[in-house]
């Protein structure tokens, strides 16, 4: 039973179109994150949230918006998709400081987005 579920698993979009990537977590974690994964760049943080109604910009937020309508759901929105946004996108929930002060992230299985 996956605790972080992303949808869709694969998506093909056209340049200029709107894309919404969805993430649902059943971990009851306050913190959620969106990363993109590209060869040669690793995992880069796009947006994150500390709880329902909050969103924060990560390291590469340009061209992306985020929405956190509830504790469980965190969406990534590409209003005007471009080919440079072709990537694999990972959502994660974080357990806060945890017992030892270090937050552990729990990732979903990813969404492969291709923008033509």
């Amino acid at each position: 039973e996956a605790a972080v579920t992303q949808s869709p698993r694969n998506k093909v979009a056209v340049t200029g179109g709107k894309v919404t990537l969805s993430c649902n977590q059943t971990n009851n974690h306050n913190n959620m994150y969106w990363y993109r994964q590209d060869t040669g760049h690793g995992l880069r943080l796009i947006h994150y949230s500390y709880g329902a109604g909050s969103t924060e910009k990560g390291d590469i937020p340009d061209g992306y918006k985020a929405s956190r309508p509830s504790q469980e759901n965190f969406s990534l929105i590409l209003e005007l998709a471009t080919p440079s946004q072709t990537s694999v996108y990972f959502c994660a929930s974080g357990d806060g400081a945890g017992g030892d002060g270090a937050e552990t992230l729990y990732f979903g299985s990813g969404t492969r987005l291709t923008v033509l």
């Binding site: 913190n31 995992l43 500390y50 937050e103 992230l105 979903g108 299985s109």
Partner: protein
């Protein structure tokens, strides 16, 4: 700002040989260091983490010692297995709730018979 430099790209090993993936970091504070592993078509997941200087956490045969004097957190395993083939990320945070992780660029380890 905080940053991580790790062994990058493709790393190919023969089964039974030792694994060593390097990770060094720059941080203003006293950071937490992590290794995440991602097997093919799976989600990244935590392998190891440490905050304490010279402490050596272990998991699934892997270990890494945080050396603050050299700002390093190298991942090691004495004998590689075929199932160790995966993408490995070193990551850093300055600790605490909601502290963002900074990931290295990743190393793809392939273990062959």
């Amino acid at each position: 700002g905080d940053s991580v430099t790790q062994t990058e790209g493709l790393v190919t090993l023969t089964e039974g040989l030792p694994v060593m993936l390097n990770c060094t970091y720059q941080s203003t504070y006293s950071p937490f260091l992590f290794w995440y592993v991602q097997h093919l078509n799976e989600a990244p997941k935590l392998l190891l983490k440490s905050f304490t200087d010279n402490k050596r956490p272990e998991h699934q045969g892997f270990h890494a010692t945080l050396h603050k004097s050299s700002s390093s957190f190298h991942l090691q395993k004495s004998s590689a297995q075929l199932s160790d083939s995966a993408l490995y990320y070193c990551a850093l945070s300055d600790g605490g709730t909601g502290s963002k992780l900074s990931f290295g660029k990743g190393a793809k380890l392939t273990v062959s018979p």
